[in-house]
């Protein structure tokens, strides 16, 4: 057995786990790439023989990572996708070898076949899949941006909030063909919006940077709202950066369409747990950005919430744009079914 390789994988996994636990990351894309790296190493190693081994390892890993950071689902999502793909690949290979078998799509038949030895093709299959996933991850922003022309026309006013790599690419792409304006809400207290505003202005897109308090005021003049998100939940709702709910509500009031740009790995098969999603999957970080710790009079009397995420219900969203195409929130269920395996917990 490749014990050295196993060690490497284990240590990388531990490192990732530690990273997640401490919250030392900024974007879920980063996590996803790291996860894929780990999986790649494992797949390349000789630690597994059958599809069953691999799937078990993947499930365990997903579980570990989920425990490490309940609020980060990107890695879990990817692994789930992998599991599904591995199973599908396996089933296909198996079927192609044994055409006589009844072509059932049930889970039972898959389970019964899990321990067959189909190493060579399966291994290369899985490796290919991983490469595909990696390139998908890296190119997701650009793929989504290709849709830009269809959605942004000339002379429009687009509103966005905070900073999203996908949205940035989208807007810049659209700016090549159309002249439009962007209003960026700064998204206090992290104030990522400043970065985006600066970046857009540097690309010569007419940008207006406003404080979050002015969103409703400006909304009456906005044609579209385009936002990114942290993840999409199974019911079509969003887990997005804190403040997006405000934008969505204001947009609903003025009947402005809300378009959400999402790469596939952000689609999560989780449902929002109870109405108080905040309890388990939100992160409340240090109030340092809100209050001044050194001011002894004030800060001690107050408990400050500094949440990272917001939940946005699906009825406020008009359209999702994934790297595979556009969808309405009501269709998410189908996409889930195609992407993720039916996991029994």
């Amino acid at each position: 057995m490749g014990s050295v390789e196993e060690d490497t994988t284990t240590s990388s996994l531990l490192a990732l786990e530690a990273l997640l636990k401490r919250g030392q990351y900024t974007r879920s894309g980063q996590i996803s790439l790291l996860t894929l790296d780990i999986v790649e190493k494992y797949v390349q190693s000789n630690c597994w023989k059958t599809a069953g081994d691999l799937i078990t390892w993947l499930q365990d890993t997903a579980e570990t990572l989920r425990k490490a950071a309940a609020s980060e689902t990107a890695s879990g999502n990817l692994i789930l996708r992998l599991i599904k793909i591995v199973r599908d690949d396996f089933t296909n290979r198996h079927r192609s070898r044994n055409p006589g078998l009844m072509s059932q799509n049930s889970v039972d038949s898959e389970q019964g076949l899990d321990f067959n030895l189909e190493i060579p093709e399966l291994r290369s299959d899985v490796q290919n899949t991983i490469y595909e996933l990696q390139s998908e991850l890296e190119l997701s922003a650009e793929n989504i941006a290709e849709e830009a022309d269809k959605h942004i026309h000339s002379n429009e006013v687009v509103l966005t909030m905070g900073k999203s790599k996908t949205v940035e690419a989208f807007l810049k792409r659209a700016a090549k063909k159309a002249v439009f304006e962007v209003i960026v809400a700064e998204c206090a207290p992290a104030s990522n919006g400043h970065e985006l505003a600066h970046s857009l202005a540097s690309s010569k897109i007419q940008t207006t940077l406003i404080a979050d308090t002015a969103i409703f005021a400006m909304m009456s003049r906005v044609n579209k709202v385009i936002i990114g998100t942290h993840s999409v939940l199974a019911n079509g709702g969003l887990k997005a950066i804190a403040g997006i709910h405000l934008v969505a509500l204001a947009a609903k009031y003025y009947n402005v369409p809300v378009i959400v740009l999402v790469p596939m790995y952000k689609l999560s098969p989780e449902y929002p747990l109870s109405t108080d999603i905040n309890k388990t999957t939100n992160r409340f970080v240090s109030p340092d950005q809100l209050l001044d710790y050194s001011d002894g009079d004030v800060y001690s009397k107050v408990c400050a919430y500094n949440p990272v995420f917001d939940y946005v219900p699906p009825n406020l969203i008009s359209l999702f744009i994934f790297n595979i195409g556009s969808l309405a929130p009501s269709y998410i269920y189908r996409l889930l079914h195609e992407t993720y395996p039916q996991i029994k917990r």
């Binding site: 000339s154 002379n155 006013v157 063909k177 159309a178 002249v179 209003i183 998204c187 206090a188 207290p189 104030s191 400043h194 970065e195 505003a197 600066h198 857009l200 202005a201 540097s202 690309s203 010569k204 897109i205 007419q206 940008t207 207006t208 940077l209 406003i210 404080a211 979050d212 308090t213 002015a214 969103i215 409703f216 005021a217 400006m218 009456s220 003049r221 950066i241 804190a242 403040g243 709910h245 405000l246 509500l249 009031y253 109405t275 108080d276 905040n278 809100l290 209050l291 001044d292 009079d297 004030v298 009397k301 107050v302 408990c303 400050a304 919430y305 500094n306 949440p307 917001d310 939940y311």
Partner: protein, 507 residues
């Protein structure tokens, strides 16, 4: 007529009638006739510089004649002018206003501008009326000013046209190749705020280049203006009270020129200057007591009754009135408070919301604090929302600090009652349908420091950071308005205004 008004008031106070009526009468009259005089003074302090600036820009326009005149006037405020001239000027201005519809429109817009720069609605308007005719110091200015206002009005009309063409510009730019990158025109978004005076640094208010000199304006007003623009006077009540104080000072320091001695005014009795001043001061005091102090008490009493034990009350920013409500209520019952804050702050890092914390401190048991972006996380536990307002508009909209509308929206989406506390003083008969009409563009919010350094001259004009200070909350999002008169729905504003007018007219 305005002048009559005052001396009537002084009269009646002398004869021992309660000060209420004259003040009310003054109110009603003032409301009916405020526009010109108010505009006059405001143009003098804020708008004039813009007018002058615009005037100097628009030299190649039709109204060339007016420009030199306005400039001249601006630079020679000490041209003696008689009082009689003053009144006819105003009447003339008013007549003009009433006659020409397009002018009326622009006039309104211009009014919108100065109003937003310093003043909160209605209250100050009335006083302005009382003040101007009786003030000789202002007179030379007002003549000049009335000219300026005329020119401004006309400029506005001409301005409107170029603006429309500006709006067309982007599309025309696009028509062809569609790759025009040069910034030929202003953005649509930017033009939304063009009617508002830009937030100016205080020292830029007065100066030779601006064409407005600070001579001829009572220093109290200058101080007031400076404090407002510095952000030291925040909150409509504070501003009203400050204004009342300044007006009082002004009355005090006013002395009529020897030859005038009020002879042109119809008064029943000859009064000494001292008495008149006393009466004016008394009238001011009554006004303040009644419409500001007592009103606050009444509202606080009503509002605190609405807070029940173990409530979770959400408040926004630091409205003085709401703060008092909370503090008073906390003496009787225990409840928790969630304070929402939003940028831009008056001064960076010391947000408005924190001032409340200092006051509330140990009085309220539990205080939670979050930025407006964290609102959706905390809203579920909230039982009621109490907001302050800068003004209540004729169509029921609530003019308040930027962000208020969002809070109301979020609360409404979660079926949480939204209570607005507002004195009748702040009722205003304007009806804007969006947040741009009446607004202030402040200073102090900009791109993060690390980015301003990285801004190349290229991308400079592409980035705008307007500081939007106010917004209008639509009436359907507000559950009730607590006023000194009663607890009303938003849409009752015109009713209240009408009732007050009637009452004033009758007396």
């Amino acid at each position: 007529m305005c002048i009559n008004l005052i001396w009537n008031m002084a009269d009646s106070s002398k004869s021992g009638k309660p000060g209420k009526n004259p003040a009310a009468a003054a109110d009603a009259e003032a409301k009916a006739k405020e526009k010109a005089a108010r505009k006059a003074l405001f143009e003098a302090t804020r708008g004039a510089d813009i007018a002058a600036a615009k005037a100097s820009k628009e030299k190649n326009k039709k109204q060339v004649k007016k420009n030199p005149k306005s400039e001249n006037n601006a630079s020679a405020p000490k041209t003696p002018a008689s009082k009689e001239q003053d009144v006819p000027d105003k009447v003339e201005a008013k007549v003009k206003a009433n006659q020409s519809p397009p002018e009326v429109k622009t006039q309104k817009r211009v009014e919108g501008a100065p109003k937003s720069s310093e003043v909160k609605p209605s209250s100050k308007d009335k006083l302005r009326v009382e003040k101007d005719p009786s003030n000789e110091k202002v007179t030379p200015k007002s003549e000049a000013v009335s000219d300026i206002t005329k020119s401004v009005r006309n400029l506005e009309i001409t301005e409107a046209k170029p603006k429309r063409s500006i709006l067309k510009a982007p599309s025309s730019a696009v028509k062809g190749t569609g790759r025009t990158r040069e910034l030929k025109s202003q953005s649509r978004v930017q033009t939304l705020f063009d009617h508002l005076p830009k937030g100016v640094e205080p020292r830029e208010l007065f100066g030779e280049e601006k064409g407005v000199s600070s001579e001829g304006i009572h220093p109290g007003f200058i101080a007031l203006g400076l404090m407002c623009s510095h952000g030291q006077l925040q909150g409509s009540n504070k501003r009203v009270i400050a204004l009342l104080n300044v007006v009082g000072q002004f009355f005090d320091s006013y002395s009529p020129p020897p030859e005038k001695d009020f002879k042109d005014i119809e008064v029943e009795e000859k009064k000494s200057e001292k008495d008149i001043k006393k009466d004016l001061a008394f009238a001011l005091q009554v006004f303040r007591e009644e419409r500001v102090d007592k009103a606050t008490e009444a509202i606080v009493a009503k509002a605190k009754a609405k807070i029940v034990q173990d409530d979770v009350v959400l408040i926004f920013g630091s409205s003085d009135l709401v703060r008092e409500v909370i503090v008073e209520a906390s003496l009787e019952k225990t409840f928790s408070v969630i304070i929402i804050d939003g940028r831009p702050y008056a001064t960076e890092r010391r947000s408005k919301g924190l001032d409340i914390i200092k006051e509330l401190g140990n009085k309220v048991q539990i205080i939670k604090y979050t930025s407006i972006t964290g609102l959706s996380n905390v809203i579920r536990s909230v039982t009621k929302v109490i907001l302050g307002a800068h003004g209540l508009l004729n169509n029921g909209g609530v003019l308040a600090h930027a962000g208020t509308s969002q809070i109301a929206l979020m609360a409404a989406a979660n079926n949480i009652p939204v209570i607005v506390c507002c004195e009748t003083l702040k009722f205003c008969d304007k009806s804007p349908t969006d947040s741009f009409f009446l607004n202030e563009i402040g200073t102090g919010f900009g791109l993060h420091k690390k980015f301003t350094d990285a801004m190349t001259p290229d991308c400079g004009p592409y980035l705008v950071t307007p500081v939007i200070k106010y917004d209008v909350t639509p009436p359907e999002l507000v559950t009730a308005v607590i006023t000194d008169v009663d607890i009303l729905p938003c849409t009752s504003v015109p009713v209240v205004l009408r009732v007050q007018e009637n009452r004033a007219i009758k007396s």
